[in-house]
Subunit: 822 residues, 2 copies
Amino acid sequence: VADPVQQAWPRRQVRPLGADTLASVDAWWRAANYLSIGQIYLLDNPLLERPLERDDIKPRLLGHWGTTPGLNFIYAHLNRVIREREQSTIYIAGPGHGGPGMVANAYLDGTYSEIYSGIDQSTDGVRKLFRQFSFPGGIPSHAAPETPGSINEGGELGYSLSHAYGAAFDNPELLVATVIGDGEAETGPLATAWHSNKFLDPLHDGVVLPILHLNGYKIANPTVLARIPEDELLELMRGYGHTPHVVSGGFDGEDPALVHERMAQTLDMVLNEIAEIKRKAAEGDTTRPAWPMIILRTPKGWTCPAEIDGLPVENTWRAHQVPLANARDTEAHTRILEDWMRKYRPEELFDETGAPVELVTRLAPDGELRMSATPHANGGLLRRELALPDFRDYAVAVEEPGAVSGEATRTLGGWLADVIRDNPDNFRIFGPDETASNRLAPAVYEYSDKQWNAEVLPVDEHLARAGRIMEVLSEHQCQGWLEGYLLTGRHGLMNSYEAFIHIVDSMFNQHAKWLKVSRDIPWRRPVSSLNYLLSSHVWRQDHNGFSHQDPGFIDHVVNKKADVVRVYLPPDANTLLSTYDHCLRSVDYVNVVVAGKQPSPQWLDMDAAIAHCTRGLGIWEWAGTEVAGEQPDVVLGCAGDVPTLEVLAAASILRRELPGLKVRVVNVVDLMRLQDVREHPHGLSDREFDTIFTSDRPIVFAYHGYPWLIHRLTYRRAAHANLHVRGYKEEGTTTTPFDMVMLNDLDRYHLVIDVIDRVPGLASSQAGLRQRMQDARLHARQYTREHGEDLPEVTDWSWAGSQGHSQESATERTDDTGSDNV
Amino acid sequence: VADPVQQAWPRRQVRPLGADTLASVDAWWRAANYLSIGQIYLLDNPLLERPLERDDIKPRLLGHWGTTPGLNFIYAHLNRVIREREQSTIYIAGPGHGGPGMVANAYLDGTYSEIYSGIDQSTDGVRKLFRQFSFPGGIPSHAAPETPGSINEGGELGYSLSHAYGAAFDNPELLVATVIGDGEAETGPLATAWHSNKFLDPLHDGVVLPILHLNGYKIANPTVLARIPEDELLELMRGYGHTPHVVSGGFDGEDPALVHERMAQTLDMVLNEIAEIKRKAAEGDTTRPAWPMIILRTPKGWTCPAEIDGLPVENTWRAHQVPLANARDTEAHTRILEDWMRKYRPEELFDETGAPVELVTRLAPDGELRMSATPHANGGLLRRELALPDFRDYAVAVEEPGAVSGEATRTLGGWLADVIRDNPDNFRIFGPDETASNRLAPAVYEYSDKQWNAEVLPVDEHLARAGRIMEVLSEHQCQGWLEGYLLTGRHGLMNSYEAFIHIVDSMFNQHAKWLKVSRDIPWRRPVSSLNYLLSSHVWRQDHNGFSHQDPGFIDHVVNKKADVVRVYLPPDANTLLSTYDHCLRSVDYVNVVVAGKQPSPQWLDMDAAIAHCTRGLGIWEWAGTEVAGEQPDVVLGCAGDVPTLEVLAAASILRRELPGLKVRVVNVVDLMRLQDVREHPHGLSDREFDTIFTSDRPIVFAYHGYPWLIHRLTYRRAAHANLHVRGYKEEGTTTTPFDMVMLNDLDRYHLVIDVIDRVPGLASSQAGLRQRMQDARLHARQYTREHGEDLPEVTDWSWAGSQGHSQESATERTDDTGSDNV
Ligand SMILES: Cc1ncc(C[n+]2csc(CCOP(=O)(O)OP(=O)(O)O)c2C)c(N)n1
Ligand SMILES: Cc1ncc(C[n+]2csc(CCOP(=O)(O)OP(=O)(O)O)c2C)c(N)n1
Ligand SMILES: [Mg+2]
Ligand SMILES: [Mg+2]
């Protein structure tokens, strides 16, 4: 009987390549290099069937050569071992600006022609391949979504290794070959990603093989890791928990054949080491292995002209981009380009039809073993729908609005625990050590632990070699892992403090851009949405101060394409459940969900919650004092749990104090509903908007975040001139919850004042009430200064239903800090 | 004669502490611990002069104990060596949530009472000290601006080490003792910051002493570095280029006296090693030293109760925050707290007046040697104004608007070179390997090189052991270094690609918050503004594609307090010079300047540029076709170099095609001018705004970034209903510059269409012109698809002055990619 581990991770003898194999590996490398240069430079005469002329050359030379020969070299060598071992492999190009190389390899693989029918393996196909690169209407210069086999654009550097681990989780038979630029290695996200190996389970996860590409330079400078003594570098890699293997070569004109030999033997050795680790793990060994990694030291721009115009180019930073910046200005420059390209001997590599010859392709794997064709790099192909337990079964029972108190994220945690139970190998929760603080835990530990492969002590809880919950104190790592996991066809979410999610603003950008572009690429299948759960939000960061208060991620997100982004602010537990069920079913979005974790009143029973979430917003008739058939006098809008609470408290004051005032209360869950339907697919038409918010009544809107966002979403609405928004205006510190809302004029008393100031006639007639509200604010503030907590009137307030009174009895104090808000 | 290096960095014999010294170090530590716990828990009975009662305890317990005993331990030991060596030292607390500790130490130092007069060294002072902590109206829980001696809030973790290096640059006599949380060490920014030692000059810079605080846990999980074998950790530190020293202790009830001994000896050894390195450097040794660092392994929450309610607390994650989450609910809990506090023997530490006794304070340094009183931590005290060469001398000569072409950032580079020359020790330029790509270099290398302390090869250019230009491929590091440099009283700027500056969104947040709070703290003196220069912007990232296109940093920035943020979009070189001169003179702001690097027309001569920048915006009369005394028919607004070019091109088409149309052209440099003066100090009054933009004419506004930002800034203006904004709407790829503006409808032809569609009467009468504009777009697009470059009509376009014609002669092609746009 075949041992599945042995089959997935076979061992092979390490021996010299042999002339034939060597010739093939080298031929692939030369062909890929040739095709890369062609993409950067040529419009025509792709296979140099005639002397190169000025007009064969592109007028604008765009792209990056420097990293490319290294990427191609690695690809060629991986091809051999993949074929020999039938090793399922995905290739991650950290320096994604080596796009020409990734395209060239996919073209040689045949994948490119299968996907892009215009570009076949013929001279004309090569011409088209060259022309389209970095060309208007063509393809981008990076390892973009358009590039077969890519899940890492690599434009913004730093995420290759995190993406790689994300791809490896729950793919026990997958090899993730990851090329890390030595410049890229200087970024923070990459520098911490090395430690991902403490979060990988050799038994249930795949293998990440980091290949540190030490070509010595970044754009215009040497790199740190290339300029420390090799001993120091080896210590660093061992300190990261790896067993490093060095392959160095190609300098001072060294024959590439020699470097091929060294690389091939190293790769075989390394894969054998991996096979050995896999075997041991299968046998029950749970010690953390020192996974092998490769340090590949080669010249930047390897094989390009050594000098151009009297300056060294190969093996310097000058090779980074387009080594020969202008190949059309002089005949001499055109000749340099031609000589350079002919050095690869294209006539040996392509037949008379323009197709790559057998010498080039014979060592390459077939079908899905081709790295450019692996389904893992087009994760939608592999994606299985989640088995989602019925979220309605987890509902908080709400007999009357506001009658019970609950913690929204804790309730969600109960459901997520069962999501974990029912999806044991394709769903994970990621967080920067905040899953407990955000109160998803302990519930989510019910059927799974936190995955952890470093030392475990008896005192530890919920740590295990394999687990669905991933916690590392790096938002970058969480995001990168999750992205890699999703792009390879799985599901997950990231929970984080609202303020610190800005740490991944730029990573979100890149992912949103990836999704936007992917939508228009027919062969890219939809992937699961990237789901954020932001808690410990701006209003309830009780243990921390101003540094932990920032609701601006929403603002950041809505700048991206409307097709791709969704923002939800469920006001209580049942709406959070309904929202999250929706998010986990969706594809190709980024869903941002902001939810509270502190005990707070529950407004909607499950049926109402579902209806409310389906509409995305709605009038809460039970909260208002409208008269059927008449226009309201004022609309109180709210979005977010704390603003909702304050609006309802304000409504109850108005109900008591101004019983004749017709108040409409509108709650918004799906923020994009506020936008115009022409701007966002979730947007309301003007007619719908006017129906709900009126076109001419004052609207006092209490919003979770920066108030101007609501203006930006609604500035074209008829009622916009009457819209008055309260929100976070960057005032805060370590203080009580009610003091926080008062600091930002979002409190119930101030909302009543806003109503008085805006409803015609009230300003003069209700000066007394207005003054009482001001006094109430003062009193509330003074109380906190004396007692260090909010006054009972506020903390004990609860909605008393339609009796027309608010109830201020102490059912449950809601200002307990819960000692986990860290 | 005294040797200054020996004086600044003396050597001392390493020997046992001796009983007296030991007693003092321990007394400080106990006192600081006691005062930390008091802050977290007590309202009254501060020195436990009577039994602790329920009402002595705060109702809301907020703060973090876990990290605090370690921070205090280190502080106590540093005190001794600082006093003995008169060593100028600043203390950076990575885990800034150890705020109670930092406050306690400053209080014991006496600094706290000097600064906050209410809080003197008496029982009543201690009471106030306790009460204010995390209390409404009091002080925040972190090492915030309110905390004497702090330059690192440490709320958002990860920046301590970068800040530390920033503080060390150009402070050759300063020791920067930097405590790094083992959780913090998992963040990306911290993980890469270790490599800062390759950018430090032992001769001209200070010394960073990293103290990795291995207390084993973060919030709810163990930490990676605490759970790898010590060998591996030592290799990691050596791999980072350090000489590690381990101090481990306090476990299983070990007597702290023993740990004190080990720590003291290690610290003396380490400081002697540092002195030796300094001496060698002074003697001309330029090898990169393996700077010592300390690994301090102690229990999290050291000295708190071992168990509470049957669960282990000390030396577990449960000690992270408030170990005894409720000290008022039961008598037993109150007793636990009392016993815990009495363990420190407060009666030995404070005299009958409540002041710390001599035993506690005698080993502490005096005056500015106190870490809480070092002027380096209140950098404004040390700040010297920059000597700024007259920027007018660097002007591009502009005889006629648009007559010459120039590269704005290259021009700025010339001036910055001389700023460097004239300020050789307090001005630096930071960038993620983009200073050349952004074209500040090579000019800025004229009087200084790039500082680099790793290996240098003959092929390298402009690298030196000491230099003013700092380049590392980490936006986090650049930002962190710059922040540390500014907060210790120096000047600088960071240049970056516009898109990738989002990488530091959250760091910007924290710095902006720091500045906002500092403004209200009388003893904090103003520091130099944090200046960004964003180039290679959204419209001209020619070599890269969609991933490099994002103008949203501006949107992010304007969410912060108006007092603190400024945004400038100079349209050409002279306006950039004038803007930057202003930025480098300013204090306490974050200045965001977005500027082009590609050749483009120069509009204003220096006098006009100064006037324009002083106003912040202005009507370009020469560009419009207004008739004196009459209202314009349409206003063309623009902000940003590319939008300005397109608006002027549109204006010239309108001038030719619709000579009767009265067009006003308004250019905006200072974006905040658009806002209401009640919202931003730079804002225009409504009257001023209406004068410039009219209150009722159509405004077509071409904006550099996301168009909705302009709406958000102007939604209250009378003309807002007539305002039509074009900008980047997230459409892009690797294509030509003009194709980019067309993709986003910001091109000249589309602007003309917008005018036709919006000026009453034109829609019907100018259908022909409208159609020609559409055809021109189509033609332009097709041209790019065929030729791979923009059509000559566009690239060769130049403003032809008041003759009423645009000139389409090839003076200079402006679409050269310059081969540095990487
Ligand atoms: C986060 C980030 N900062 C800056 C850049 C600009 N940039 C593009 S390529 C490059 C150098 C990359 O060097 P390396 O990773 O060594 O790649 P290679 O040498 O293989 O080209 C830089 C700094 C970027 N792409 N991403
Ligand atoms: C970037 C960031 N992510 C998450 C948090 C939330 N957080 C606060 S404290 C903490 C643990 C810190 O652990 P460590 O650095 O070891 O500090 P210590 O153990 O000394 O308290 C975390 C994750 C944070 N403050 N910053
Ligand atoms: Mg490199
Ligand atoms: Mg710790």
